[in-house]
């Protein structure tokens, strides 16, 4: 019984303790000139889809949910955002070479087509990020158009 008590206390201390470890927040007020929306003439509806469903993890500005204030959730989010930006950062679009743009567009199209993006763990909480069939088709058509322009 004593041992259990000690373990409980240790757990409580750890859980409280990790709350004080700061995480880097992915936030920025400025939209750079290299941004996907600035570099391309994106139709308003596609713009809305991409910013709602993709930009939280694929840009320099995340609109964080309340639980980002709680560890270990904050670490979990930070990990996903880092991974996401590493693969594709829409804010950096203009800095990608044509070769890279084509690769990125190809991946965007295949990931969205196969329902692998947006991630299920993300849409579970962000219901508004779920792509309707219409917005999905529209998004894929637009990305294909951009890809063809680069060919």
């Amino acid at each position: 019984m004593r041992a259990v008590k000690i373990i409980v206390w240790i757990l409580v201390i750890v859980l409280v303790g990790i709350q004080f470890i700061p995480t880097k927040r992915n936030q920025s007020d400025t939209v750079p000139e290299t941004d996907f929306m600035v570099a391309n003439k994106v139709p308003a509806s596609v713009m809305k889809t991409v910013s709602t469903s993709c930009y939280d993890c694929h840009s320099n500005n995340t609109s964080y949910p309340w639980y980002n204030k709680v560890q270990p959730m904050a670490w979990y989010l930070q990990y996903h955002i880092n991974e996401g930006k590493d693969e594709l950062n829409f804010n950096e679009w203009g800095n990608y070479s044509n070769r890279r743009k084509k690769s990125k567009l190809r991946s965007i199209i295949s990931q969205v087509e196969e329902n692998e993006m947006p991630l299920g763990s993300y849409t579970l909480v962000h219901k508004d990020a779920i792509l309707s069939n219409d917005s999905k088709t529209e998004l894929i058509d637009y990305m294909n158009l951009l890809k063809d322009e680069l060919e």
Partner: protein, 183 residues
Amino acid sequence: MKTLKATLIASALVLTAFASTSCKDDNKEKATNSTQSEMKGKQDAKALAVLNDYFNLKDALVNDDNSKAKTLGNTLAQSLKSFDASNYSDSEKTELKDIIEDATEHAEHISESDIKHQREHFKTLSKDVTDLVAITGTNTKLYEQFCPMYDGGTAWLSTKEEIRNPYYGSKMLKCGKVQREIN
């Protein structure tokens, strides 16, 4: 008492799960700094290593071998990272850097995907490697082969003239034709 124990175990599990996911990116291997290659031939050793790894990967895809392709994708990513562009002209350097960056990403994806995705990435990777060879040259004769069926028409490189299709494997092993010889 029993429930308390269960809660304890559960919370310990949750904690370890989070700890392990958040540490994943720490063990990514860092790009090795390559020493300047002494070879001044038509094609240097580093470029040759990239090509060899590419052909091994292609053979794994021809054989429908997902796990072998994963390993070889990783091998190729490493040899791409140690590619040395210092002996090339400035404009070639810029293009090589671009090609290497793109190809490395595809090779890394191949090292962690199912075979369908591996083949998607192999398509773009093949384009990258073909553009690379255009700059580095090749000591041996290569064949650019083309399959009109895969994704609106797709090419790849091979050291042999006979067709072994990496995009379909055993399903359509001989689909395709030689569209160009590279010397």
